[in-house]
Symmetry: C2
Subunit: 159 residues, 2 copies
Amino acid sequence: MTQYQTIFIAEPGKQDITIVREFDAPREKVFRAFTEVEWLVQWLLPTDMGMALDYRDNRTGGAYRYLLPGPGGSQTGIFGVIHEISSPERMIQTFEYEGLPERGHVVLETTRFEALPGNRTRVTILRLCESEAFRDGMFQAGMEPMTTALHQRLDEALL
Amino acid sequence: MTQYQTIFIAEPGKQDITIVREFDAPREKVFRAFTEVEWLVQWLLPTDMGMALDYRDNRTGGAYRYLLPGPGGSQTGIFGVIHEISSPERMIQTFEYEGLPERGHVVLETTRFEALPGNRTRVTILRLCESEAFRDGMFQAGMEPMTTALHQRLDEALL
């Protein structure tokens, strides 16, 4: 079992979510694990949850698409464009779940990587949503347990 | 003089700005004016304000960069990635002013185009900011008169 918790901060009346998590690995390694395909397939895109990589052009100005199970046994996607990849400190990208009833509802996600003593790293993710209701819908869709489980997978991948 | 006003909505405690403007032209034409380089140079990037096009790859998954005067007589840029170009109804892109003291402060901008009777078009722009303070800083930097003036230029370009 991991010693670290994934913390979710979502204040009433706001449109954002802050997610904070520490990892027991140096910053350069954690940054790679959050951005590079070779790492993402080990934790963020688990095949046993039906997820897969479609593509990821991992650079500032690039784009990505991941595949996952959709409504009614179908397959759907997550699509985004990459505003910034600045190793080892910052990644900024958009995020859209293609399984929603309507397209055009996009989240902006800024992930910051901070080096801590003892070769540890603190990751802080800021997710901006179009409304408080949309943000709360992400929690209702299971974001909290899903993200927590994925981070525990990453702990293992980083060993 | 134009008959239309540019309306800015920014509620206390929120992190977004909604900008609403009508134009006296059909939706397809207004969509092109907001997305295609041949149009943008006519109103959004006026050379007499020192602005210019660096590049714009006008497609879903593309990117753009505009040039403008920076602090102390220098030149700076606006950079973004294009999450969606869905003619004639929706454009979604990021926006970062490179002249800030620090990089990594990005706005997500969703622009919707609605056809109105009489070959008119309503444009609604939603700008999501990382905080209320950042949003208010955009107003303090002159966003309101600047945007209003640019939309009046667009009125003329659409004639």
